[in-house]
């Protein structure tokens, strides 16, 4: 439906001389208005979550791990969503959970991109034995399922937030490495990179100024997908009791702590799980739309 409108707009735009360069913001706004409903919904969700995460202390009635009532109090009254297994306010924990869970997943994804992206571009730019060594290392690391590998590493190094971040980031950087290497391979053979080399630019310049800007769109889309994956992995680990440790409020462990309520037909434990699902769905919708926009990948035609 909306796609057919898209194509006609593009066709007429192709025929006309290129329009004067517009400011980025207004272009983004126009693109946004044309976006499909699912992408708008996704953006709305992301903005909402970020807002809640940033203003957690203002929005919450109680402290993060403050015990304010007896265990498992029902909804309503002073506790909008009742209390948890230790008598802490559920709504407060949910809001702080947004801050901790999203924050940790975001930092992890950034770290994974830093490691994987740099290694990937370097492998493509340097080629030779550096490329071989890094690629084979990644092959072996990827041969072990990520969740199992992180369980093994967590046993060895113990469960704390910094180790969790580093472990997941390193394991996840393998995927980033593959993508970054694959897309940079197409860029490093271009004339402008050759020119930079002949100019005598160092490998740092080539990586950051020549290759990186040209591989941004796929990396940005991948960032969204990787974020979802990391977010789900951390949630799963926390749910298993091996991720973010109490008393830090976190959605995965909140589900675990309150799971017994399910057998009484109470939906409270589903709230943090639903919060996780809603965010990943939102991010996925936006990434889907972004991929359609940037890759010209339209199997409709």
């Amino acid at each position: 439906m909306s796609d057919s409108v898209d194509t006609t707009v593009e066709q007429t735009a192709d025929a006309l001389p290129p329009p004067p360069r517009q400011r980025g913001l207004s272009v983004a706004w126009r693109e946004l208005k044309k976006a499909p409903l699912s992408a708008k919904f996704g953006l709305l969700v992301i903005v909402g979550y970020v807002f809640v995460a940033l203003f957690a202390p203002v929005l919450t009635p109680y402290g993060e791990s403050e015990i304010v009532g007896s265990e498992f109090e029902p909804w309503g009254g002073p506790f909008v969503l009742g209390t948890d297994n230790l008598g802490r306010d559920m709504l407060t924990r949910l809001i702080y959970g947004a801050r901790n869970t999203i924050g940790i997943a975001f930092v992890t994804t950034c770290l994974a991109f830093l490691i994987g992206g740099v290694a990937g571009i370097l492998a493509a730019a340097l080629a030779g034995w550096v490329d071989q060594a890094l690629s084979r290392l990644v092959d072996v690391l990827m041969a072990i399922p990520a969740l199992i590998f992180s369980l093994l590493l967590l046993t060895i190094f113990g469960t704390s937030i910094p180790t969790l971040i580093v472990i997941i980031a390193v394991l996840d950087s393998t995927r980033v490495f593959r993508l970054a290497r694959a897309v940079s391979l197409n860029v490093v053979v271009m004339d402008f990179v050759e020119a930079a080399r002949l100019r005598g630019e160092g490998i740092g310049w080539i990586t950051i100024r020549e290759v990186l800007p040209n591989i941004m769109p796929p990396l940005v889309a991948e960032f969204g997908l990787r974020f979802c994956f990391v977010f789900l992995t951390i949630a799963a680990l926390s749910f298993l009791g091996l991720g973010i440790q109490p008393p830090t409020a976190d959605w995965g462990s909140m589900v675990r702590d309150n799971a017994t309520l399910i057998t009484y037909g109470d939906v409270t434990p589903l709230l943090p799980a639903g919060a996780i699902a809603l965010l990943t769905v939102g991010v996925n919708f936006v990434v889907d739309w972004f991929l359609h926009k940037t890759s010209g990948l339209r199997d409709e035609k």
Partner: protein, 318 residues
């Protein structure tokens, strides 16, 4: 034919090499353990002598390469060592649990593979219709949903509200076959819901890719019937991607069981590894990760080999 055999042999060799590397990583990982395993077991009150005795007993005083080889040799004979937590033989702990996990994965696969293939092919054939769009949104949603969310929703409805299935899948070795199936229905459904989406998206993509190739258009222009094109032209080339999709997702199932087993308190390998991580029972974690990783590697290897031997271009070389 010779080319085919060499390719398969190459893949097999590569697979063995990867397996070897994986075992090395799992072994070396534990070497990185900060501090000493024996200190870890005995806690604060350990004296120098007891730690030394324990090191001798576990063979930790030997150089790493000797220990690696004897560990590997032991595993080849089905001996994984003893658990630190309860001093039992690990192979004994694993045996029943492994078969339980495989049973769960098989039931899930039996439901999800036919379902995903049918849905995927339908979505590819009727693409850009309302059906396709709906399937796209629904699968995108289910891919992004954590397993435990699906699991608890199923428990809430099917075991608490309607009371059709048990919420705990406790099976013992002497549970009857059909009773066993009945008990694993909910965990198997959870796994199915999680994998189907991914599997059908991949099926859809590979079929669409194929239908866009010139020789299909040629067949179309020659006026061949749709069913003839799909069965005789598209399908022989589609086997490789489809088989790949199936096997990769089976590999995913093997890993996906970890969370699901914990939710449903199912006595499988996943639960064992999680328990052991909590107790920091390193030999058990090592053994379980090796089994999970080996299954994963072998399944991926199978996918590779199957896609080579079903490739029509290699079967009929010029």
């Amino acid at each position: 034919m010779l080319k085919l055999v060499t390719l398969v042999a190459q893949r097999l060799g590569l697979g063995l090499l990867v397996l070897f590397a994986v075992s090395l990583i799992i072994f070396l990982g534990v070497e990185l353990l900060p501090g000493d395993l024996c200190q870890e077991i005995q806690g604060q009150g350990a004296t120098k002598e007891t730690v030394a005795a324990c090191r001798k007993e576990l063979g930790l005083d030997l150089p790493p390469h000797t220990r690696y080889l004897s560990w590997l040799a032991g595993i080849a004979q089905g001996d994984f060592g003893v658990s630190l937590a309860n001093q039992r033989e690990i192979s004994e702990l694993i045996g029943v649990r492994l078969s339980n996990t495989l049973f769960l994965a098989l039931v899930a696969a039996a439901i999800s593979v036919p379902l995903a293939l049918t849905l995927g092919i339908l979505a590819a054939l009727y693409r850009n219709t309302i059906y396709d769009r709906m399937v796209n949104v629904v699968t995108l949603t289910s891919i992004s949903t954590p397993e435990f969310f699906v699991a608890y929703i199923l428990i809430l409805f099917f075991s608490v509200k309607f009371g059709w299935f048990p919420s705990l899948s406790n099976v013992s070795p002497d549970t009857e076959f059909w009773d066993r199936v009945y008990r694993v229905i909910l965990p198997a459904t959870t796994l199915t819901l999680v994998v189907v989406a991914h599997m059908m998206r991949m099926t859809r993509a590979s079929i669409i890719n194929l239908l866009a190739s010139p020789y299909i258009e040629m067949a179309n222009l020659k006026g061949m019937s749709r069913s003839h094109i799909i069965l005789h032209h598209a399908l022989p080339n589609a086997w490789a991607p489809i088989v790949n999709v199936i096997v990769i997702n089976l590999a995913y199932l093997i890993v996906g069981v970890v969370v699901v087993e914990v939710v449903f308190v199912y006595p499988g390998l996943g639960q064992l590894i999680v328990d052991s991580v909590q107790k920091r029972d390193i030999p058990v974690v090592q053994a379980c990760s090796l089994i999970f990783a080996a299954t994963y590697v072998l399944l991926n290897l199978t996918a590779d080999i199957l896609s080579i031997i079903t490739n029509p271009r290699l079967l009929h070389p010029r």
